[in-house]
């Protein structure tokens, strides 16, 4: 059992928790993920590590309530326990040789982008961050990004906070004005990452995307997280859990990934409603 050391809502649907998991805390690097189960018989869900404190033996996770399991997780209080917590899984974000980086995060993806930005800042790279949200009410982690970025753009789709527009607006503007980066790293909704790749393409800047497919074991056993890369005219199957979650954005078949992520949409909506009703009955 893994103790919840702290719990802090970041906005109405996004919560941050610190979990006691010393072995994971000692090893996890930015870009890696964990898999947890809230309770006995619960579902296994992957969440990217949002930070670690090896001294205290804690791992920070940030999650958005999107279904039954995250709804249940959100109802766990400080001092309570999670059934299972395993990691770190996946390959850490590649940082070597990158001196100037642009980090593009969208929505709750910013929680994953944050430790990556912090790591580059710690390594002495020049960090430009673009973080985007639907509106003012769901902006998260602005102070954290400010602290680790040489330049920061906060975007909202409706213009209710920061600049008006999506994350590709300032990226396009910078690239058009001759700005260049060793690497762009983007983490967020698939459709956003697809457009970040399209924006960067004319300028030939390498783009890393962080994929978030449906997973079960997370160790390379089930193959549920597979995605297709287009490599030198060939279609190659990769597994996000052991080969990723970071991939070359120019190679990823985003349309296929988007379709696959919708496989259980009806089931998930039903599970979410069930979980909500359960908590309503208790309340």
């Amino acid at each position: 059992m893994y103790k919840i050391i702290s719990r802090k809502p970041l906005n109405a649907t996004v919560t941050q928790m610190e979990i006691e998991a010393p072995l994971v805390a000692r090893k996890a690097k930015p870009g890696q993920f964990i898999i947890l189960r809230v309770d006995e018989d619960g579902e296994r869900i992957p969440l990217t590590v949002a930070g670690t404190d090896p001294e205290r033996g804690t791992v920070k996770i940030i999650f958005q309530i999107v279904g039954g399991t995250t709804e249940k997780l959100n109802h766990k209080a400080e001092g309570e326990f999670l059934q299972d917590f395993v990691g770190p899984l996946g390959v850490a974000t590649h940082t070597e040789g990158i001196k100037k980086v642009c980090i593009v995060g969208g929505g709750v993806g910013c929680a994953i982008a944050m430790p990556v930005a912090q790591e580059f800042h710690r390594l002495g790279a020049e960090v430009t961050s673009i973080i985007g949200f639907r509106n003012k009410d769901i902006v998260i982690l602005e102070d954290e990004f400010k602290a680790c970025s040489d330049k920061l753009f906060v975007m909202t789709d409706d213009g209710s906070y920061g600049q008006h527009g999506n994350v590709t607006v300032p990226l396009k503007e910078m690239l058009e004005n001759g700005e260049t980066f060793d690497q762009i790293i983007t983490i967020g909704p698939l459709i956003m990452m697809k457009f970040v790749v399209a924006t960067a393409k004319p300028y030939n800047i390498p783009v890393t995307v962080s994929m978030n497919p449906i997973m079960i074991d997370g160790t390379g056993m089930c193959g549920g997280c597979r995605l297709t890369l287009n490599q030198d005219g060939k279609r190659v199957t990769k597994f996000a859990c052991v080969d990723g979650p970071d991939f070359n954005g120019y190679e990823v078949d985003f349309d296929e990934a988007m379709s696959r992520n919708r496989m259980y949409m009806d089931f998930e909506r039903h599970a979410y409603e069930e979980a909500c009703n359960l908590f309503k009955e208790v309340a």
Partner: protein, 469 residues
């Protein structure tokens, strides 16, 4: 006394009943039937059956005890060499092992050795209340990677010799393929749990949620004071055919499909983990895993389940009893057929159509058998122009696995072969000092019993190595 020519039949749930539940198919012998079956054993001097068993169970000896009605004594004989008799009695391919060597089998049906083993193990589990004796510690520590059949066997053998053993398991439940892969109707989970509890009672620590190669490395295990490590990390990445359409929704690897149903309990009425239920299902492959997937799909409510296999019944590698059970349950075997493409729904007028991207069928081509290939089996050859489509909603790929890279990538000096399997010598030792390996991580997908045999061999080698230290 005249020899009874046929085995005592195994009582089973009727096919039309069991096709709709996840309870065990085979119900087990009664005491009377067991004694009766044991009486068929000729007790031959040269004991050919023992040589057919990967862990060399003293078969005629235990059968003699069954014949006398001394079931607990029979159990003690089996457990001298086998750590998981209740499991092996159920999942071993006896027809190609012990029973294939039975003298009686030359003229008649061989003795039902597997059925007797299962009976004895179940009898023991039901009647025995004595806790296993914990041997005096010998002061040595050994780490085991993976809690599947090879790891559990290795752990059990070492614990019985007084070693302090810790088993590291990546998943949240111990048992490996016995819990995520083999379905309840063939191997009830409570049997695996019982075997794991027996090991715990022997003083074995089982640490779940630890991925060796990620959470800890092999080198760190040595730093922690373990003097030897056994790697039984199992098969690994599922293979796909690399044909068009494998990314459509509704295409599963057998590992994923079975894990969802078995480990994550998606077969329940109101599951937390989703799985596609019902409709028409095609399972590609002919091994035990393919049979398990097909019969699981049927029990989840499929109206039609096909096995699509590119060779003929003769080459089909699954355990005979599973094939017979599957046929009785109405699984449709489409042999000498090979998939060439998976078809999916795409509405050109509405990209938001919720049906988009789901499987609608599988296109296959007919095959005929040509010359024997490297495996000695006749190579299947396509019959030109014979393509046809099976309408299905779900496709389950059960064509094997390739080894998991996690341990290889994080263990310096650990050599693997061209298929990615860990290389071991005849003692189960890898290219690294004090690191042993066995099971699917070495051989690629094989059987439970061969993995157990490898775990057993490694335990013996580790014991020899550490007693000299």
């Amino acid at each position: 006394m005249a020899i009874v020519q046929t085995k005592n039949p195994m009582p089973v749930q009727e096919p039309e009943v069991r096709a709709h539940n996840f309870n065990e198919v085979a119900l087990g012998y009664s005491e009377e039937t067991a004694i009766n079956e044991a009486s068929r054993c000729l007790n031959c001097k040269n004991r050919p059956c023992v040589a057919g068993c990967p862990v060399n169970i003293h078969i005629p000896e235990f059968i003699a005890k069954v014949k006398e009605g001394k079931f607990e004594e029979a159990y003690q004989i089996i457990s001298e060499t086998s750590s998981l008799p209740a499991v092996c009695g159920r999942v071993c391919p006896q027809e190609s092992q012990c029973e294939s060597k039975c003298t009686l089998g030359i003229k008649f049906e061989p003795v039902g050795i597997g059925r007797l083993e299962r009976f004895v193990a179940d009898y023991h589990n039901e009647h025995n209340t004595a806790k296993p004796q914990v041997p005096a510690p010998n002061g040595h520590k050994v780490a085991i990677v993976g809690s599947g059949p090879s790891g559990l066997t290795c752990a059990g053998d070492l614990a019985k010799k007084g070693y302090k053993v810790a088993v590291y398991e990546a998943l949240h439940t111990a048992g490996g393929v016995l819990v995520y892969g083999i379905p309840e109707f063939r191997l009830p989970k409570k049997i695996v749990a019982k075997e794991v509890d027996t090991l715990k009672a022997l003083g074995v620590d089982i640490d779940t949620n630890v991925v060796i190669g990620k959470t800890l490395t092999i080198d760190e295990l040595f730093e922690m004071g373990y003097e030897a490590v056994f790697v039984g990390s199992g098969a690994g990445l599922p293979r796909f055919m690399n044909i068009p359409g494998e990314a459509y929704k509704g295409v599963y690897s057998a590992n994923e499909f079975l894990t969802r149903s078995n480990l994550m309990k998606a077969y329940r009425e109101d599951p937390v983990t989703p799985i596609m239920k019902g409709g028409k299902v095609a399972v590609v492959g002919g091994g035990n895993v393919a049979m398990d997937a097909a019969r699981t799909a049927l029990r989840l409510g499929a109206e039609k389940v096909y096995i699509v296999y590119r060779r003929s019944m003769e080459e089909l590698p699954a355990r005979k009893e599973e094939v017979e059970h599957a046929q009785e349950e109405g699984i449709d075997f489409r042999l000498l057929n090979n998939p060439v493409e998976i078809l999916g729904y795409n509405n050109p007028d509405d990209p938001r159509d919720p049906k988009n991207g789901f499987v609608t069928g599988i296109k296959c081509i007919r095959m005929e058998l040509g010359e024997p290939d490297a495996s000695g089996r006749r190579r299947p050859v396509e019959v030109p122009g014979s393509e046809f489509v099976l309408d299905v909603d779900t496709v389950i790929m059960s064509i094997g696995t390739s080894p998991n890279p996690l341990i290889k990538d994080t263990t310096k000096g650990l050599e693997v072969n061209s298929h990615g399997g860990i290389i071991v010598n005849e003692d189960g030792l890898t290219s690294r000092d004090a690191v042993y390996a066995g099971g699917d991580a070495v051989t690629g997908a094989a059987t439970v019993i061969s993995a157990m045999g490898a775990g057993k061999l490694a335990a013996k080698s580790i014991d020899e190595y550490l007693s000299k230290k």
